[in-house]
Symmetry: C2
Subunit: 407 residues, 2 copies
Amino acid sequence: MSFSYVSHLYCPKCDNTYSVEEKNQLCECGSPLLVAYNMQELKANLKPKNLLERKADLWRYHELLPIQNIENVVTLGEGLTPLLHMKNTGQDMNIPNLYMKDEGLIPSGSFKSRGAAVGVSKAKELGVKELAMPTNGNAGAAWSLYCAQAGVTSTIVMPVDAPEITRKECTAAGASLYLVNGLIGDAGKIVAQAVKDYDLFDASTLKEPYRIEGKKTMGLEIAEQFGWEVPDVILYPTGGGVGLIGIYKALQELQELGWIKDKMPRLVAVQAEGCAPIVKAWKEGKLSAEPWQDAETVAFGINVAKALGDFLILDAIKQTNGCAIAVSDETLLEELNKVASAEGAFVCPEGAAAFAAARKLRESDWIKQDDRVVVLNTGAGIKYPNTVEVDAPILQPEDKIVRDYVR
Amino acid sequence: MSFSYVSHLYCPKCDNTYSVEEKNQLCECGSPLLVAYNMQELKANLKPKNLLERKADLWRYHELLPIQNIENVVTLGEGLTPLLHMKNTGQDMNIPNLYMKDEGLIPSGSFKSRGAAVGVSKAKELGVKELAMPTNGNAGAAWSLYCAQAGVTSTIVMPVDAPEITRKECTAAGASLYLVNGLIGDAGKIVAQAVKDYDLFDASTLKEPYRIEGKKTMGLEIAEQFGWEVPDVILYPTGGGVGLIGIYKALQELQELGWIKDKMPRLVAVQAEGCAPIVKAWKEGKLSAEPWQDAETVAFGINVAKALGDFLILDAIKQTNGCAIAVSDETLLEELNKVASAEGAFVCPEGAAAFAAARKLRESDWIKQDDRVVVLNTGAGIKYPNTVEVDAPILQPEDKIVRDYVR
């Protein structure tokens, strides 16, 4: 039994292949690269029951991850996040089988840690000493932290408007942090230049092939947590879209292993109305998306005007009979408060967007009443203090509570 | 097989007993009450291997929890947090077998959610409709959120200096929140009055017997994660001390079940120099602690001048050959940065205090080089943004990174 059954890298556009033992970024043709595994061999050697005694983290799927030597694994205990039945919220939406995959319960409080754990581990394995990346905040925080453990130097560039806590995380981890008066695209250009100037490894979304392997573990976990069945619908807040592409890839791999049947969940890309390039392309029946102008949303993690993997996102939606849908900031903030007060789950704005989308799709009957529906909450609400306004009385020690104050 | 093997409540001071089917708070004698289980029956019916196929949360130990009907379980997926080998930090401290139990990876980003999950579930089972509690922030946030799911009304009183994010959580959850110009003791007095005035259930630390049952699951998990062995030392940041009392109780129960051997870990109560009543009592060989005057520390969660369970904490330390130790704010903040930059773990100030204590105890040789040592990190660093100062250059989109900036 190998620790990993990784085989090679391939280009989903031009079918070119590359080695997993050398540093690779994009394909010659400009497309992101994907990771292939020796599936037939793995199918013979591994069964679902083998997982039972393994730790409750994403490394339980190490055969389907690209790290070849266990010594290179960098971990903070990420993965196997809860899949919660949202009874109260589901009742309110008339989706009795509504579930939340809660990615708030992960190091750095964001699902970005999955990509970082696997991406940084593989970077370490490949001998990377310095990497750089643009980020809307959470990915930079996660990569900084895993790089700290790995002894890899990190240079992070994020918009000045990115969630403030993510700056603190980068700094605590010892990253070289830069803020830019602009959007993630501007950060990307600065990183691209620095990568050239200083010969850094480029860890930008999909410019290295391994982050997606970390993200795909969300798909593996959802299948395992439902007893190797898939739900009917998965809603995913979509910025760069790596998680959605990853979940689709994971489920295809599980089909190859024969661990799940032919059925695929309908994948839904959820965006904010202030930045909805994928939704626009989907509605227009296009295979790739145009850059969105003047992008703006409180759901900062999905404020991505142009996704490098747009064609992969649109393909995954199409192949699974899914859809793309946008919600307004007002709607998603209202949904955030509904979920917190009904269910006790303080979700991030991006997760709230996905809940709001579920509500809309149920209202239009695209989601049926008996569908089993999974909403991805991509991070902890505690990273976004500005989504809640507090109006609490201040008492002196000698005061007492007068019931009129009670709401 | 019953869902719970709970038997009754008993008083550790006067041996009085009470029913678990009625609302109970303190014993007539003023002591906290503890929960007893039918251990011999459970020993016959449950084996460690029965846990293997259960979910990765604290309800995997439902037989050892006080909720009798599964329908009353209120959950956000809490528990089975990672037990991480801290290789880099351990090397730095010369404690090769240094582990962190990371309670940051839990709903609301604080171990308080364990107590809240079990406490609120039992409150729901007992028909509680309204409860009130004083808090240093995190417990109030956690109880508010679980109460929201349970449909229980919550009134929360916290010091104005409590971490600001915890106000947001209470508000999002729909709690009635009050801030007090004072410390948690002042909040406690206001709650006590409100409990009388409005006939509320008092969910103050140890004034209801079930929170500790949630906290004890940390002990159950540590034992299970080490393969039903216990470490040599457990360091616990101690305010109210419920976690330490709970871990001790858990390990005693596992001994009764025969799942672990006779050995107990040495339990260490870690406090801040600005609020160290337990350390003072321990040094003076007393059985209970005097209230600490002018308590102040950046590790706000352990800013507890007088713990109701002080005698139980001191007893647990004594029985296990443990100790109590205080560290300065300066030392713990320095340790927080060390752990983040060496290991990528952004811990809370209370957790940092426990790491700093491990370093001190190793230096004095109280911790031996080959001891297996577990530090409890009681919450996520992202709830405490003020522990890190950021000094990052702000670039314009047309700028490029000049390497001099790189630290």
